[in-house]
Amino acid sequence: MSTIVLAGLHKRFGDFIAVRNTDLTVGAGRFVVLLGPSGCGKTTTLRMIAGLELPTSGRILIDGEDVTELRARQRDIAFVFQMFALYPHMTVRNNIAFPLKNEHVPRHEIASRVDAAARMLRIEQLLDRKTGGLSGGDRQRVALGRAIVRQPKAFLMDEPLGTLDADFRELMCLELRKLHNALSATTVYVTHDQSEAMAMADDLVVMNQGDVLQSGPPHEIYHFPATVFVGNFIGSPPMNFLPVDGAVAAGDERVHLHGAPVAVARCASAAERVLLGIRPEHVVIDEHGPLRGRVIADEYLGSHQVFTIETSAGVVRARASKDAGLAAGAPVGLSFRQDRTLLYDAATGRLMPGAHTGAVHG
């Protein structure tokens, strides 16, 4: 188990800044997921940790040791790629054993480590098969096995499930997480898929355009997004953002949305232009609700449904039970769960501190 520290890590490709002055600590044994849209810098960050890319400036420390200038192979880190490259003419056993043979590990030690990894990944019955004929999921397990046997200081994974189909991805998510629980090895995992990230991460790091926007446990990021971008990027459907009438002052517990009074959690700062943020599951369809609107769309998802409601303050999405019967065009009232309302400074897009947001990190 190792701790990875990134200090002022910066990477420029020509005029393009891929990663901007990033500070980040990956605690020993943590499963940390870097999440963001394509081009956000998550893969570049991972490649710098691996030693496949040299930073323009900044340092990388593993267990306190500065490894910034070390070659990839000297860092004792295992990298699992999206496109797993196995040797098709070799058996599963030899594929998994390959890195150990290269390091001249004694033969009996190789055998016991390969067996242990295969048991953990439940591919013992495949050990003597060639990898060429295996299914995508089994190939991915073999690739993981090859990383595990090395007993590295940390695992780095770049969208390792990206090529698998949706049902199977979900299953592999659970397996990877179980594997992590068993090994408790420090893991940095890159994905653009928020459900994957949410299901696996101890800590989530949300990136965009080279910047880390927020890091912390998934539930904290989900409930208290630090910026409008994070609230939009995480959540399906995303968080609602509605413009508030006029300025907001510290101590305010009520705002107006196009004239409709809405109770909010007490605000601890002030801003000229403000957005109210609320998750769809905290919007209540309520005939006495202050904000009036009309249903313009209904998405049925089996276990629940999502209504899209047009109001004078903007479009609002509300999550409702599968039994809620509202036809398109129906007039509705909306209220918001007061303890779940968030206020954002429209000028900066940043979350304004409030009575309930004391624990939020920037």
């Binding site: 189909d165 049902d167 653009h192 898929d193 769309a297 089996g302 276990s303 629940h304």
Partner: protein
């Protein structure tokens, strides 16, 4: 626009039966989603409608006419694939205009321009018309591929997992757009997917296929709420439907021949802490983000979804009710027992 009918269609590939005596009708302007696991015959069904495959037996009818002997190019259907194939050396405009410039169409360049611009507006691609196709994001490329089908104003759209190669965010965006598009143009669409969110949100009706056979067809609410058999019940639902042994229940309350009792996770009722419950289960896992509670009784997991934000910790006991009106009963062979 058009109606489509499959009458007892079968298709073999060697010893493999891809489509087995399949009968299906798609009404004019209807959006039918064909859902099933890989190998269920979904894509073959689509290819049979398109005329890319011929049936071994049975008939494919388009607007009441037997299309089986009509060449694909004469069927006036547009096929959209998972892997959008655009002409990389052409601009977005020229990619969209391509089908209209076919010599058979003999459309004036002014008509072509007007049509391409109208479709680009529909897809919010006006600003990208001059871009080369290779300089687009994945979502934009798929939009152009859909646009190329739209310009032709075909009678039928056949779509084979058109969103599955896109990432989650884009998939959601394009899903909403497809639905809007269907409302605007009122086209007949047959859409193949294994994604249940696409199925329940897009479909007028869902057709569930398994082993080349039609298992059930109905509105999303019918198929989800009133599944005809166990495999249909398991095909929809995230998290999946709970399958419980009859021994969980009072024997007198369970119909004869019941092998499995099923209940949707959102129908499991979590009782208030102070109430005496018929069933007390141990918490295995709680995810407030996914509104998900995994419980356990004697090694059988019971999954509940709940919008209540309560603090559950692993190991604690929770009182649970499984209301009789939410229970579905199945025989050992998977058939539903009516109640």
């Amino acid at each position: 626009m058009a109606e489509i009918e499959l009458r007892n269609v079968s298709k073999h590939f060697g010893a493999i039966v891809a489509v087995d005596d399949l009968s299906l009708d798609v009404k004019d302007g209807e959006f039918v989603v064909v859902l099933g696991p890989s190998g269920a015959g979904k894509t073959t069904t689509l290819r049979l409608i398109a005329g890319l495959e011929g049936p071994d037996s049975g008939d494919v009818l388009i607007d009441g006419e037997i299309a089986t002997r009509v060449h694909p190019s004469e069927r006036d259907v547009a096929f959209i694939f998972q892997q959008y194939s655009l002409y990389p050396h052409l601009s977005v405009f020229d990619n969209l205009a391509f089908p209209l410039r076919s010599p058979r169409r003999r459309q004036s360049e002014a008509d072509v321009r007007a049509r391409v611009e109208a479709v680009a507006a529909m897809l919010h691609m006006e600003a990208k018309l001059a871009n080369m196709a290779t300089h687009l994001s994945g979502g934009e490329m798929q939009r152009v591929a859909i646009g190329r089908a739209l310009v032709r104003e075909p009678r039928v759209f056949l779509m084979d997992e058109p969103l599955s190669s896109l990432d989650a965010k884009l998939r959601e965006e394009l899903r909403v757009e497809l639905k809007r598009l269907h409302r605007t143009i009122g086209a007949t669409i047959v859409y193949v997917t294994h994604d249940q969110v696409e199925a329940t949100t897009l479909a007028d009706r869902i057709a569930i296929l398994e082993h080349g056979r039609l298992v059930q067809i109905g509105t999303p609410r019918e198929v989800y709420g009133n599944p005809a058999c166990l495999s249909a019940a398991r095909r929809l639902g995230s998290p999946p439907i709970n399958l419980l042994p009859p021994a969980f229940f009072d024997a007198s309350a369970v119909p004869a021949d019941t092998a499995v009792v099923a209940i949707r996770p959102e129908d499991v009722v979590l009782d208030a802490a102070d109430r005496k419950s018929p069933l007390s289960l141990k918490v295995l896992e709680y995810s407030p983000l996914r509104h998900l509670l995994i419980l356990d009784r004697d090694g059988t997991p019971v999954v509940a979804t709940t919008s209540i934000e309560r603090n559950f910790s692993p190991g604690q006991s929770v009182g649970v009710s499984l209301p009789a009106r939410s229970l579905l009963y199945f025989r050992a062979d998977g058939r539903r027992i009516p109640t």
